[in-house]
Amino acid sequence: MRHPQAEGSDDIQALIALMARLPGLGPRSARRIVLHLIRRRGDQMAQIAALMEKVAQNSRECLCCGNITDRDLCAICTDPNRATGEICVVEDVADLWALERGGAFRGRYHVLGGTLSALDEIGPEDLGIPRLLDRIAGEAVSEVILALNATVDGQTTAHYIADALEGQSVTVTGLAQGVPIGGELDYLDDGTISAALRARRRL
């Protein structure tokens, strides 16, 4: 595709095209951001570029819970104060971060990285559910909180895990009201998440 020459070099065009594919951005906002960065290329742009490179190099999933970290184990998994015997199961890292922002939960997490879906060919192994079950057996866990979205796939996953834990000596709970049908945890405000967590109910 040809671009108006007024819009800068091929590299700048390529940068705009990449930015426009980011969530929440489109071609118009991407152009505005790139133009802004170029005006601030000495400080802001250079800092962002350096950090981007570093984060791309060092980021990985926590071997225990799936959180994003720059070490083998994340800060939550290595903090002894968080060994409360509670594990909160979430669909993805954005949900974990949302719960942490709410600050109401003091235990540890397990990030599934998705939900069960036969249609999308995502099965229990793809979500690390067997690993979660091992963890629950090995870590003296007393309560598993299934903080999964109120979508069909989210609730299927919750049922599946609750079902697999039946007969074991752990309490299984789910988030209470406040989580709208089809709503995603990440979009809820901190107060709502904390309230839903406090009012959790046994499954």
């Binding site: 069960l116 879906s117 036969a118 249609l119 099965g123 229990p124 069909v152 796939d153 609730q155 299927t156 996953t157 919750a158 049922h159 599946y160 079902d163 697999a164 049908i181």
Partner: protein, 358 residues
Amino acid sequence: MTLSRLSLAQFRSWRRLDLSLDARPVAIFGPNGSGKTNILEAVSMLAPGRGLRGAPAPEQARQGLDAGWRIRARADGRAVETGALPGQPRIVLLDDKPVPQTALARLLRVIWLVPAMDRLWTDTPEGRRRFLDRITLSLMPDHADLSLAYDKAMRERNRLLRDQIGDPGWYRALESQMAEAGGAITRNRLKALAAIMAHQQGGDFPAARLVLMPGEGFADDSDPASIAARLASMRGRDLAAGRTLTGPHRADLGASWGPQDMPAALSSTGEQKALLLSLILANARALADQPVLLLLDEVAAHLDADRRAALYDLICALPAQSLLSGTGAELFEAMGSRARRLAVHREDGASVATEETE
């Protein structure tokens, strides 16, 4: 009043059509192909979905123009606009702000009867089930979400069955969701049938006895625990078939009427049509406190003159607003001055309307 203005632009055979409406029914008549059904279809686009023809948006744009189509209406005091540009999905604006299609469901209740439904009582259960679910949805807006949830869980289960996956926990998880949603769907359907029966008036449009039929299974069971147990017990047979054979998705609507409790399928063509109209009128009455639009295409077909006159009396007594179509003006004679009369014909390849006043 429900609908006070309607204007079409480049919708099917209509270049333009501008109508101001009042509480009176509108009788639309004209020769075959003049554009009557197209008007009703346009009004049906004021509801979520694909309208009374179930057509995709590109098909609805006037051919040879490549300009898309647009419908504007003043409904229940709000400005509604819907349309589609070439190659784009349909959009909806409410008071000039884009809203999801489902917002229309909260604004208006649009109920229609089209000639394709003339064989409803003798055709496959699918048509009757869809008819029942449209009635149910008009009375209970949560029916849409429940149907989507049930459908999604069932498609997931069907995929497990097709792929011959044996994980019983996975089946239990999906079946418990099908049971929750399915139980609520069945309760909604039963409530809707009770409401319709309570609002039938009898006479020329017979009060029918309506039943939710199990559909070769248990589609009349509304207890989640028992639905879950039945699905579990069917797993073996379903695995062999590669899909979910029974459940609320197989429900059927049974209707019978009169002193002999005559099944609808055994009734005469005109009687079957009268039965359908009886349900549609009851549906409109059951929604009396809400803005209802009734679209009756070829309303006079199969009805004798007495039945027609009786029908018009009932329509005029409804709290709903209605648009009717038929090929000739004489079909609406019994309406007299109670209805507005819109004559439709074709000119230079497009539809044109003139209002007839006595």
